[in-house]
């Protein structure tokens, strides 16, 4: 019997190429991002000292502007709601991050939950990335209204995602609930088929 349980990717059984590239010079490239550590932080944003405690525990500031994200080093914090953030860190650091936050916020109206396996994360980058996403997502991703630093809590191909732009190429990351990850991957791979050079 195996001594340790072996971790599996959500695409372990997806078959085909992983990552997927569509079109010449990767008009759009679709990649599964290796698992990250992820913590849901619930906190009263009106409580300035709690925010400060969280900032010190995380080492970076929580984004307070709705639908934005903020990253420094290997930590990224995604705005989720007026009292909710999703903090991402390198896989393996989540337990320590959760412990630090829990300790810093002890006695406050706050909640820290490890959700590292709740989502899968995909990277979509390349010149036609926007056209791929708009096939199933109703958010306006035009650079005039949505750019690097922005984030959307929306639906892609009918499933809930958090989508954030990480580069002007453009590059987007999205997190989808793990149970929907394979469906969404297959959907994206199918939708991307249009960008294969004839």
């Amino acid at each position: 019997m195996a001594e340790h349980l072996r971790a599996r990717s959500v695409l372990a059984d997806a078959g085909g190429e992983v990552p997927r590239m569509f079109g010449d010079a990767a008009a759009v490239r679709l990649t599964e991002v290796p698992p990250a550590g992820a913590i849901v932080l619930r906190l009263d944003a009106a409580d300035a000292s709690a925010l400060q405690q969280a900032r010190e525990a995380l080492g970076i500031q929580l984004p307070l502007t709705p639908n934005t994200w903020h990253g420094e080093g290997d930590i990224t914090v995604l705005w989720q709601a007026y009292d909710e953030w999703l903090a991402l860190t390198a896989d393996g650091r989540q337990t320590e991050m959760a412990a630090r936050l829990t300790q810093a916020l002890a006695g406050r109206h706050a909640a820290v939950t490890d959700v590292s396996d709740l989502h899968a994360e995909f990277l979509i980058e390349g010149p036609v990335g926007r056209d791929l996403l708009r096939k199933g997502c109703a958010v306006d991703l035009h650079p005039r209204v949505f750019g690097t630093g922005h984030l959307a809590l929306t639906a892609l191909a009918r499933v809930r995602v958090v989508l954030w732009q990480t580069g002007d190429a453009p590059a987007y990351r999205l997190r989808v609930e793990r149970s929907h990850a394979r469906y969404l991957w297959d959907w994206l791979a199918d939708a991307g088929g249009e960008f294969i050079d004839g």
Partner: protein, 987 residues
């Protein structure tokens, strides 16, 4: 191959690129740039269709989407498109098309007998004929179904791909004629994000066939310059072959783009069509105008055509729609058409105009065309093509003949009764329509959304006015009234139509002026009633050419003006939308966004049969090769009762609850009291909606001082989370508690059966699984094989059971490890069906089986789970409602059939047993219904659960279960059939 009616020069077709196509089995040649209609006309083919009801010969009436007659079938096999207007089919090499609604062919059609017996097929024929006897309706329906519809849909799966696209823009311009182009240019130059959609293959609109000049510049030159100017604007996007089909709230407009319909051999990876959902800050409707005919006898003969269409065929497609034409017009645009026809070599025998002679007559007469003012065409004659028209002088209003008839030989009749702005989308947007009393048409009035109309769609029928309106709409400045109005005297139908010559109002639905008159006589004078009674405007063309005439005639028949008559509702879609485009890629395996557990691939490989539970697809049972479902389920059940089974329970909803008020929250959500729950222990609870009805259940564990883990039903997790957040965010804002959904973070495997503990103790874990250290209804946290784990000892089978949770990435490995660890005990994977049998043996409910939104905990016999003295909880007040405290409500009972081998279907009705195994004469009062029914392998008999009126007082009594026409006798019992003391749980 020659195209006898092709003009040698001019037009926008490419003579250097001939295309071969087939129509009704015969090969023809057309040119690149043709539509199927223009190519057929170039080959002298006018008879293209048979009409809907009377199977009369029909030809090409228009040159656009309004086409009422020339509907054809395009393509073959699975790619057949059944009902498309030939006027909108772009020709490509190898195109195959055929007429519809005729058998054996369009030239000789058996259904034409309906024309001979048309006297017995008046308006409302179906309503009058098929009313009685009511019992015969099923017979009638067969006949009606066969007669209904036009083309035949393909019976194969659609092989094409369809796409969707969300788009956003500052300005959406609908229509790429002069107004639309001017609007897109002006908006684009001002820096706006612009989307311009054009229904046809190229921009230009009326500039493609009208001889206009714009500020002294030839129209086509202006068009070429404008197109390159648009192409230079980075934020302007022009999409041709794209029809705006619907206009919805919040300026959402759907656009159907036909990506490859015009291509002979489209690449397989490209979508055939794409449905756009465009959200625009502002919309400019510049969709042009649709010409209306004038009704006269036999106005449906092939060769009777809209004047503007004949003009377009001549100028854009270089096709003569006939050799000798008569133009019949009540407005000045017919004169322009006559000149265009004459310029391409068509002999115009006469121009018939019911008005006094207008100024524009001079130019026409100068071409040698006879202008006959104060005359009307009253009938046409011919068999499959018009051969002559009958004309007569009319009075000043065009309502009476004032002199003798005469005949003019011709093979083409060009008709213009005026122009109707394409107000469809504007009306769909909520915009009001007003009647333009000068040009006699409906035009856009007050807007309800940020939308403007411009150009012909706004009643500005002349090019320079259209351009000015387009620009004004784009810049949001005031729209000037058109400098030129279309001179017109309304004439809906010619007077004095001879007997036997049918005057058609709606060519597609075969509605005549007589049908409208009959409807009005019978009281169907409200326009929506008239529409439905006569079927006017109910074809695939939605009456784009005929409706306005029906309003005009109805007004005349009932003494009302057209604004008083009003219009029928303009509903989406503007033109038909393929179902495939609506479905997009949400078909096949993507039909639903199915959810998978970390173990799903293993289940599939193991040959499991799946069932949907919410969006999850859960293994229902795992048949061995050749094993029937019943046998597989029985095997899985017995493995759990006698050895050990394992179930993928990852779908179980899981919600983390944290905060000092967590306990208060639980007390308010659940019906029972939670104060005494110790850390590390679990408790089962029921949730009610405000009405007191059960909507979810599950086990919640206390993990810490202020930390709980709630589980919900697999299908109910999202609903429960929403329910809790709703209360926390809206009503209980004072509660200091947070809830976080974590369902998919955990993979869950349930190990159940007498040997469950033996399996778990074989794992490398720091958790003590012994009965004393880890009692029933408790949860432990620790590690299993190096992974963090939570293990709950809870049971839904009545056996010793553990639910093991590990982070999802380890789910498959845990499953595989348990299979290995349990091999010595014969561990058996079980599906949801076996789980349901096992829980039913124990009398445990499943929300959605035993409950349906009308069942209280008391109905379920779970009074002990309702604490009326713990304080308020959701549903408490509801439980006190008079109907909920009523005696003899339906209550949960067990049901044992007298014959143990008989299984009653779920949903079967339960009625009282009168005497000697008989039931009363109908109507028999219903006592209840069967909620769950299974074969119990361990009991060796059928068991069932049921909701039965006054069930708790009927225990031990017999009822009748009526099923599939049989009456089954059954005894009411306690719903727990197995191990009532629960001894097996505490091993």
């Amino acid at each position: 191959m020659t195209q006898p009616f092709r003009i040698d020069s001019g037009g926008l077709i490419n003579r250097g690129k001939p295309l071969t196509f087939t129509f009704n089995g015969k090969r023809y040649t057309g040119c690149e740039g043709d539509t199927l209609a223009s190519a057929l006309l170039a080959n002298g083919v006018h008879l293209t269709a048979r009409s809907f009801k009377y199977h009369r010969p029909r030809g090409i009436v228009s040159a656009g989407p309004e086409e009422p007659c020339a509907l054809v079938r395009v393509g073959t096999g699975a790619r057949v498109r059944p009902n498309v207007p030939a006027t909108m089919v772009e020709l490509h090499d190898g195109l195959i098309a055929a007429s519809i609604n005729c058998w054996p062919g369009v030239n000789f059609d058996v259904g034409a007998i309906n024309n001979a017996i048309s006297g017995v097929l008046p308006a409302g024929f179906y309503y009058k004929t098929f009313m009685w006897p009511a019992a015969a309706w099923m017979q009638y329906e067969r006949f009606i179904r066969k007669a209904a519809g036009l083309g035949v849909t393909p019976s194969f799966p659609d092989p094409d791909r369809y796409d969707k696209r969300n788009d956003h823009c500052d300005v959406l311009v609908i229509g790429g004629g002069p107004a639309g182009i001017a609007a897109a240019l002006a908006a684009g130059e001002a820096g706006a994000r612009v989307l311009l959609v054009e229904e046809r293959a190229q921009l230009g609109g009326q500039l493609l066939f009208r001889n206009a000049s714009i500020a002294g510049q030839p129209a086509r030159e202006w068009l070429a310059q404008a197109e390159s100017a648009l192409a230079r604007l980075a934020e302007v996007r022009v999409v041709c072959r794209a029809t705006a089909t619907g206009y919805y709230d919040h300026n959402l407009v759907t656009v159907l783009e036909r990506c490859t319909d015009h291509v002979a051999d489209p690449a397989a990876h490209l979508p055939r069509q794409r449905l756009w959902k465009v959200r625009a800050h502002r919309v400019i409707v510049a969709a042009g105008a649709i010409e209306r005919p004038i009704v006269f006898g036999n106005n449906d003969l092939p060769g009777v055509m809209l004047a503007g269409a004949a003009q377009r065929y001549a100028a854009q497609y270089a096709v003569r729609a006939g050799q000798r034409a008569v133009v019949f017009t009540n407005n000045d645009s017919g004169y322009e058409a006559a000149l265009a026809l004459a310029a391409t070599g068509v002999e115009v025998a006469a121009l018939i105009d019911p008005r006094e002679r207008p100024d524009c007559a001079e130019a026409v007469q100068a071409q040698g065309i006879a202008v006959m003012s104060r005359h009307a065409v009253i009938a046409a004659a011919g068999s499959k093509r018009v051969q002559r028209v009958t004309i007569a002088p009319v009075d000043a209003t065009g309502s009476k003949l004032t002199g003798p008839m005469q005949h003019i030989a011709c093979d083409l009749v060009c008709v213009s009764g005026g122009w109707d702005p394409a107000v469809h989308l504007y009306s769909q947007s909520g915009g009001k329509l007003v009647f333009d009393g000068e040009q006699h048409c409906f035009v856009p009035g007050a807007a309800m959304q940020p939308v403007r109309a411009a150009g012909a769609a706004n009643g500005a029928f002349f090019v320079e006015d259209a351009i000015e309106q387009g620009r004004a709409a784009a810049l949001n400045s005031d729209t000037a009234a058109p400098r030129r109005a279309l001179a017109l005297q309304p004439l809906w139908a010619a007077p004095g139509v001879p007997q036997g010559a049918k005057p058609f109002v709606d060519l597609q639905s075969d509605v005549t002026a007589a049908d409208l008159a009959l409807a009005a006589r019978e009281g169907y004078v409200a326009v929506e009633h008239t529409k439905r009674y006569t079927t006017t405007g109910m074809g695939v063309d939605q009456g784009k050419t005929g409706n306005i005439i029906a309003y005009g005639l109805l007004g005349g028949l009932t003494g009302r003006t057209i604004p008083e008559v009003g219009t029928t509702t303009f509903r989406p879609p503007y033109t038909p939308v393929t179902i495939g485009a609506l479905a997009g890629r949400e078909i096949g395996t993507s039909f639903e966004p199915w959810r998978r557990t970390p173990v799903s691939a293993w289940h599939t490989a193991a040959g499991a049969e799946f069932e949907p539970v919410g969006l999850w697809r859960r293994p229902m049972y795992y048949p061995k090769p050749g094993e029937a479902m019943d046998d597989a389920v029985a095997r899985e059940c017995l493995a759990v009762r006698n050895g050990v089974g394992m179930l993928d329970a990852s779908t179980l909803g899981k919600i983390e609850i944290r905060g000092p008020d967590a306990l208060t929250l639980l007390n308010r959500l659940y019906t029972n009291a939670w104060n005494s729950l110790a850390i590390g222990r679990c408790r089962y609870g029921l949730m009610l909606h405000e009405d007191g009805m059960v909507f979810d259940d599950g086990v919640t564990a206390r993990l810490g001082e202020t930390h709980y883990l709630m589980s919900t039903t697999s299908g109910g997790a999202d609903g429960v989370l929403g329910w809790i957040e709703d209360w926390l965010q809206c009503e209980w804002r004072d509660l200091k508690v947070h809830v976080t959904p974590v369902t998919a973070h955990w993979a869950t495997v349930c190990v159940t059966g007498p040997h469950a503990r033996d399996v778990l103790t074989g794992l490398a874990s720091d958790i003590d699984f012994s009965g004393t250290a880890f009692p029933h209804m408790s949860m432990r946290q620790g590690q299993i094989a190096g992974a963090p784990a939570r293990v709950a000892r809870v049971s839904f089978t009545g056996e010793l059971s553990y639910e093991i949770h590990v982070p999802a990435r380890y789910g498959l490995a845990l499953w595989e490890m348990l299979l290995e660890a349990g091999a010595a005990h014969g561990i058996t994977p079980l599906g949801t069906e076996a789980l349901h049998v096992l829980r039913a043996e124990k009398g445990f409910i499943v929300v959605g089986h035993e409950t349906d939104g009308t069942v209280t905990p008391i109905d379920l016999g779970m009074q002990r789970l309702v604490s009326m003295n713990k304080g308020d909880f959701l549903g408490k007040r509801g439980l006190a409602r008079a109907d909920n405290v009523r005696k003899a409500r339906k209550q949960l009972v067990g049901l044992l059939t007298r014959d143990a081998a008989v299984m009653v279907p779920e949903g079967s009705q339960i009625v009282a047993m009168e005497n000697a195994g008989r039931i009363a004469q109908p109507p028999v009062p219903m006592l209840g219904h069967v909620t769950s029914s299974y074969r119990s392998p361990v009991l060796g008999r059928s068991i069932a659960m049921a909701l039965v009126a006054d069930g708790s007082n009927r225990m031990g009594g017999e009822v009748a279960v009526v099923t599939d026409g049989r009456v089954v006798t059954a005894t009411l019992t306690d719903p727990c059939f197995y191990d009532r003391q629960g001894a097996r749980l505490n091993g």
